[in-house]
């Protein structure tokens, strides 16, 4: 049976690993390679690495980090941040990424998802969707690191990119990011039910039970988390044990 995945995520800013709260208030959390090495030893199922460097120099470091991670970690690496073109995708795949996360360019660069999926295979192309829940309960997709409203509904947008050939959705709640107050199960479930590709849900994991809820209540294929691993004594090992003990379908 296909297992649900536990996916630590690493946020990079100019070569350092950081953790945000609601896409701001960045705290330095150490060196990304060291972290990746530890997560590999702790048998994380996969790693997601997202780069938010604004500068070209910062972007260049991402390529070096991808290479180094691929040299030391024998698990799947999904890498994203500032991907704009087929060439960007090709060189990151060459440098060691297994999957590429595309966010802003999925909206801005016409035809990119379709072309990338045809060229590199659907399963290589992950569309990352950052969203906000407004006070009136409606949801909206944001791009440019959570700074630009798009007017798009995340469920409709997920359907659209799935039709274009995306192989997976990385679904991130901006208002829950770094708060550790729990995943948005409702929106996760809506997206999971609306599309036929796997959904990784993220944003708000604060307890080990949040993983279970994301997987079992919302039906996500994977739950991604950062703060709980950076700032508490929980690890992928403890998470796995907690889930196995409760009969959740994860790798033992």
């Amino acid at each position: 049976m296909l297992k649900k995945r536990i996916i630590p995520s690493l946020l990079l800013k100019d070569g350092r690993m950081v953790k945000s709260v609601q896409f701001g208030n960045y705290r330095d959390t150490g060196h990304p390679i060291t972290a990746a090495r530890i997560y590999d030893a702790q048998r994380a199922d996969e790693l997601v690495v997202l780069d938010i460097s604004a500068s070209k120099e910062g972007r260049k470091i991402l390529f070096d980090i991808a290479t180094q991670m691929a040299e030391e970690c024998f698990m799947p690496l999904c890498i994203g941040g500032g991907i704009r073109s087929i060439e960007d995708i090709q060189s990151l795949l060459r440098d060691g990424a297994d999957k590429i996360a595309i966010n802003t360019a999925a909206i801005e660069v016409e035809g990119l998802i379709k072309e990338a999926a045809e060229k590199f295979g659907c399963s290589t192309i992950v569309v990352s969707i950052d969203y906000i829940k407004h006070d009136d309960g409606s949801y909206e997709v944001f791009t440019h690191g959570g700074t630009k409203a798009t007017g798009k509904d995340p469920v409709i947008w997920a359907k659209e990119v799935a039709n274009k050939g995306a192989g997976e959705i990385f679904l991130m709640s901006i208002d829950r990011d770094g708060t550790m107050k729990g995943l948005d199960l409702e929106l996760t479930k809506s997206v999971v039910d609306a599309i036929n590709i796997p959904v990784i849900t993220a944003g708000g994991v604060g307890t080990l039970d949040d993983f279970r809820l994301g997987m079992e209540e919302a039906g996500a294929s994977a739950v991604s988390a950062a703060s709980i691993f950076h700032f508490t004594d929980q690890s992928p090992i403890k998470t796995r044990k907690y889930l196995v003990d409760r009969g959740v379908n994860v790798r033992a």
Binding site: L93, G96, D98, I197, S221
Partner: protein, 206 residues
């Protein structure tokens, strides 16, 4: 020396690094002489079947690989798309002819929506090994490996299956016949169990 065939598709560096980690000497190449000089060959591959065949043609690798693997019987491992390409044909984006080294075709996972099974089949799933093989030596009969694919190899030759997996339907996750070995899953992404298989491959003398 292990030649990792570079035909423009696939996570070549990951495979090279995983092999080096378990003591293998590797060369990532599409140079004919280098492939001829290698004593083992890996055909990786991530991407579309049609592009895969087209690129093998473009680099004039089809005849060369046939000589090295089918005639000279060098130990060979096809990974993911590199397994599918061994088949007669695939139904991916229209019908495509494959290398036709094994009596098999390639099918797409196709589920009714009420089954709620996502495609691609992506993540860790259990492989049941149905017979012994030097490359699976030291592994249990059931182990979890990492898969990323929407198509799978469906063998007509019932000697082929070595490992099976289940995703809505039972499918063949691993095949072997003489010096040909292939996995739908990614050993280079399957942590310790995958590395163990790669280590066994280096020692394998079919």
């Amino acid at each position: 020396m292990i030649a990792i065939v570079d035909y423009g598709l696939g996570n070549l560096r990951s495979i090279a690094k995983a092999l080096e980690c378990v003591g293998g000497d590797t060369v990532v190449t599409n140079n004919h002489e280098e492939i001829q000089n290698a004593d083992r060959i890996i055909l990786p591959g991530v991407g579309a079947f049609g592009d895969g065949m087209q690129n093998l043609k473009k680099f004039k690798l089809i005849e060369l690989l046939k000589d090295e693997v089918l005639k000279k019987k060098k130990p060979f491992w096809g990974i993911c798309l590199g397994m599918q390409l061994l088949a007669k044909e695939s139904e991916e984006f229209g019908s495509h002819k494959g290398l036709n080294w094994i009596d098999a075709n390639v099918r797409k996972f196709n589920f009714p929506s009420e089954k709620k099974l996502k495609v691609p089949h992506m993540g860790w799933n259990t492989v049941n090994f149905v017979r012994n093989h030097p490359i699976t030596s030291g592994l249990k009969n059931q182990e979890d490996f990492y898969f990323v694919h929407s198509y799978y190899v469906n063998p007509n030759d019932l000697v082929l299956p070595l490992g099976t997996c289940d995703y809505g339907v039972p499918f063949t996750a691993c095949i072997s016949k003489e010096n040909i070995f292939a996995t739908q899953f990614h050993p280079e992404k399957s942590q310790q169990k995958g590395l163990k298989m790669l280590a066994n491959f280096i020692e394998w003398n079919p």
